[in-house]
Structures are given as structure tokens and as C-alpha cells.
């Protein structure tokens, strides 16, 4: 018979594991990812997000062009998203986009001046994808999981 302390610990661990599995956004670092409600996607992995935000992935599985949108640099969640998903510091990201812009390879995603503006952009563009603070109101936008 297991001692009560160990039993309690196991119960807590199991509950936390089940919660993480059922709520994929719990794994993100203070942000959640939203897409247009017409987008059938329910979850994406970080590698896909990274490719989308570095403008290297072009389409969703159904062929709709991916239209990522960034938040303005003053939002702390932008830096957390860049570290967690893009795996770049702000300086590295700036260097990357300078290289892309001035060699003609591409331009960064447009910036929204507020989470609400990012959500509005997602609602107006079928292929759009955005990240917003985890406590932001996402309205009719669809929150998807991040693996």
C-alpha cells in the first residue's frame, strides 16, 4: 500500500500531465495562437510556426497562403514568442530580417498595434495566423494548440 504522501504526489503529477495533454496551449510561454474560424487546423507544431513566421512556409495544408501577423515590438509577448518558437533573440531576429529585406528575399510579417488588431486581422483573412497574450480576448478567432 502506497504511503499517502507519495499517492498525493502521483495524483498531482497525473492531473498535471492530463491537463497539459488536453490543453495544448498550456505549454506555451504566455501566448496563444489564433487562426481564422474557417481554418480547419486545430493544432500546429512549433517548427511549422517558426517556418510560417520566418516566411519560409508558404501554404496551409489545404493550399491557403499563410498570412502571419506580428505584434509591435513593445509587447513583451513578442519577445517570448520569438524565443520559444523562432528560437531567436530580438537582435538575431532583427539581423535576419535586415538580411532578408536588403537581399530581396522577403519582408517580415506586418505588425499589429494591439492584440485586438491582430485578432481583427485574423478574422478578416482566411489564411491568417497570430499570437496574442494568453489572457487576450480572441473573440470569434479560433484558438489552436501548439505542440
Amino acid at each position: 500500500m502506497a504511503r499517502p504522501g507519495i499517492h498525493l504526489l502521483l495524483t498531482v503529477c497525473t492531473a498535471a500531465t492530463l491537463r497539459a495533454a488536453a490543453d495544448p496551449i498550456a505549454a506555451t510561454d504566455g501566448y496563444k495562437v489564433v487562426v481564422n474560424p474557417g481554418n480547419p487546423v486545430t493544432a500546429v507544431d512549433r517548427a511549422f510556426l517558426r517556418e510560417a513566421y520566418l516566411r519560409r512556409a508558404t501554404d496551409w495544408t489545404g493550399g491557403e497562403p499563410i498570412r502571419p501577423i506580428d505584434l509591435a515590438t513593445r509587447f513583451a509577448v513578442r519577445e517570448r514568442f520569438a524565443a520559444d518558437v523562432l528560437r531567436k533573440t530580438p537582435a538575431q531576429l532583427k539581423r535576419y530580417w535586415n538580411q532578408q529585406i536588403f537581399s530581396g528575399k522577403g519582408v517580415p510579417p506586418p505588425e499589429a498595434e494591439s492584440p485586438a488588431a491582430a485578432v481583427a486581422y485574423v478574422l478578416g483573412n482566411p489564411g491568417a495566423i497570430a499570437y496574442v497574450p494568453i489572457d487576450a480576448d480572441t473573440g470569434r478567432a479560433k484558438v489552436i494548440g501548439v505542440r
Binding site: T58, R74, F102, G104, P110, E111, E113, P115, A136
Partner: protein
Amino acid sequence: MDGKRSSDSDVTARGRAWAQSVRVAIAVAVLGLTSAGSVFAQPVPAAPPDAPGQPEPPTVTAAAQPAVPAPVVVPPRPPRVQIHGFASEGAFASTANDYLGSAARGSLELFEGGINFSTEVAERLRAGVQLFARDLGALRDAAPRLDWAYLDYRWRPWLGLRAGVIRMPFGLYNEYVDIDAARLPILLPESVYPVRDRDVLLSHTGFSIYGSREIGGGGELEYQAWLGALTIEREALDVVGATLDSAQSKYVAGGQLFWHTPLDGLRVGATVLRTSIDFRLTLARETVAALIMAGYVAPSFDGKLVVSQRPDTLVVGSAEYARGDWLLAAEYSRWFKRQRTTLPALLPTFEEDGERFYAMATTRLAPRLETGGYYSVYHVDAGDRGGHDPRFTEPFHAFQRDLAATLRFDVNDHWLWKLEGHFMDGTASLPQLANPDPARYWGLFLLRTTVTF
């Protein structure tokens, strides 16, 4: 492929006037656009900003305050045409030798500027063009020219196609060699990225295919291949005692493969580039007369000469590791050149195997302060690193070792300053005509400021 100070003052003056015009235009554009903010900025009511590290501001919804009308939220509308630009101005001074052509021991001319326009023509299809101008000391000023201008169709992540005037990949940084804001050093290591070859090696006119592909848990492969011809401006070349009638590249072909390893921030790769160039020259009348007198050519010789570099083969192996505030990079390159002429008795066929390599480290001391340095080595002949061959009048003409250190300060996201020092041993990269009796040990110091938008 060395640049030089021209004796043709008209062309130089014209280039200088163009550079000045572009400098003013870019300055005006920079002032206008930076004061207006980012081209992405939209007149959207902003949420209260939060400082980095602080919690996000809570979002107030209309439902929470039913008595207050909901704010109108306008989604961003990216501009149809994106406009970006950069302008750099600075100064340099050498302790002994003329770095960029004759009478160039120091100069307040260290200008480079560019402006580009790009747009999404259709889904996955982009078009863009960049104009570039420069004014570097006594190096012949270049009139504004098309830096790149191409159509880019990215069909899938693993396959895209570009056509037009295209930046040419070579090593880690050749595509970004004039983007001062995208790197720490003012001068990239001269061994692998010689400033006087910039105009020749920066871009080509033709096609390229490119893409990237995940390889399971093994990271990602990024690749490019290209075929075209080099665009060689006549004034980009160093010719003395003759007039350059034309410089024609028969072709340039190459490929680049980078492996982004599973270790975050580490990429390794290689680039191979091969080209063939014919230089058609007309020798000066006095040169022809001297050759006839010496019996090198027949009395009927008309002074026409073709110098063919067939082929030039450049290879480079590269490694870069970026982690946090640190960036480490190293490259090793060999440049094989085979040159022959229509006057073999005077200019015999020769082969050259240049060896070039460097190692660089940079780190960020504070959010807006970065420093670093590199050690760069160039051997004219990998088989004679010490310069024992009689063609080297001094052994140190056969090599150049460059120890460089840089300090960069970003005033804001659009404006930066750099200070750089070089301590040189050897003279292999110097323009020989401007330095008939160069000093072996010398220093070079540069100051530069750059704005981007």
C-alpha cells in the same frame, strides 16, 4: 578584378554626382520614413504598452463594460509596395599604406546607400528591385546601379525560382555584404569578401532555384543553385597602360548547401562557384610602341589583347554558431584561377591557387552595444604561403593577415554607429599600383554610421 582610381575624371565626377544625389534622396527618405515610423505602422488604436518582462496589459472587452461603446479596431493592412533603404557614411584612415587606391591613406568618403521596392504580384510571386550607390575613398565611385531586380516564385518551401539580377550566394555573407546593419564588422573579412571584388561577385543575371527541407530529426537542409552571367562594370576593374573595351562573363554557375543542424543556431555548409571571363583590352599607343621596339610583337600589332580567365573556380566551406548573444563564424576558401592571353610571349599562361580563411566571434555586451573581432588570412598562392617565389618582390607581398576588432552601438532600431580597428601584417590585398613600396605592418581604422528604414 581590382577596382582603381580612374584617370577619367568625367566618369568619376558623374559617379560622384550620382552618389551625392542618391545620398540626399536617401537621407530625405530616411528622415521622412523614420519620423513617420515603420512602414508597417497602422493608425490602429494601441493598447497600453508593456515593458519587456512586465505582464501583458489586461484586455478590456466590450462585454465587461457594456455602457462604453466598443473601440473600433482596424486590422493592419500591409502596404502593397514595401519600401526599405539604408545609408552609411563614415571615414577611414590607414597608418601606412593606401587601402583603397592611390592617395587613399585616409578619406571621409565611406558612403554606401540603397533603396528597394518590393511587392507581392500574385500569390507566392514577389517582384523587387534595389538601387545601390557607393563612394569609397579613392575607389572609383559607382553610379547607382541595379543591385538586384528579380521575380521570385516560391512554389513550395522546398522549391522556389528566381529570375533576373540575383544576389549571388557565396559563403555565409556574400548576399548581405553591403548590409551594414545586418552584421557587426564594418569590413567583412577581406580574405573571403574583398571589397574591391564586390561589384563583380555580388550578383548575376540569370536564374536560381532554392529551397529548404526538414530531414526528420536531423535538422534542415537549405540549398540554392544558379546559372547566369556576371555583370561586370568596366570601371570596376583595375587596368593600367590600356583601355578596357569590354569584360564579358561567359557564364557563372554555382551551388550552395547549408545544413542547419539539430543543435540550435549551428549551420555548416559549402559553396562552389565557377565562372569564365574574357577581358578585351586596347593597349596604350606608347605601350604598343615599346612592345614593337622590344620585339615582343610584330610591327603590325594593333594593340588589341584578350585576357581570359577560364575558369575561375571559387569554393568555400562555412560554419556559423549563434547562441544567445554570441555568434561564432569561420570560413575556409580556395580561389583557383587559370589565366591565358592572346600574347603568351608577353603574358604567359599562369594558374593561381589563392587560400583565404578567417575566424570571427561577436557578442552583445548590452541590448544596444555589441563587440567582436576576427582574424583573417589571405595567401596569394597556397603553395607558397611564405612568398619565396621571385615574383614576390618582398615575401610579405604574398600574404595578408588581418586582426580586427569592432564596437557597435545601436542608437535605436534604425540608427547605429561603429568603430573598427585593423592590425595588418602583409600587403597581398592592397592595390599594387597605388603602393609601389608598401609597409609590411600597418593599421586601418574606420568609423561609420548607418541608418535603415
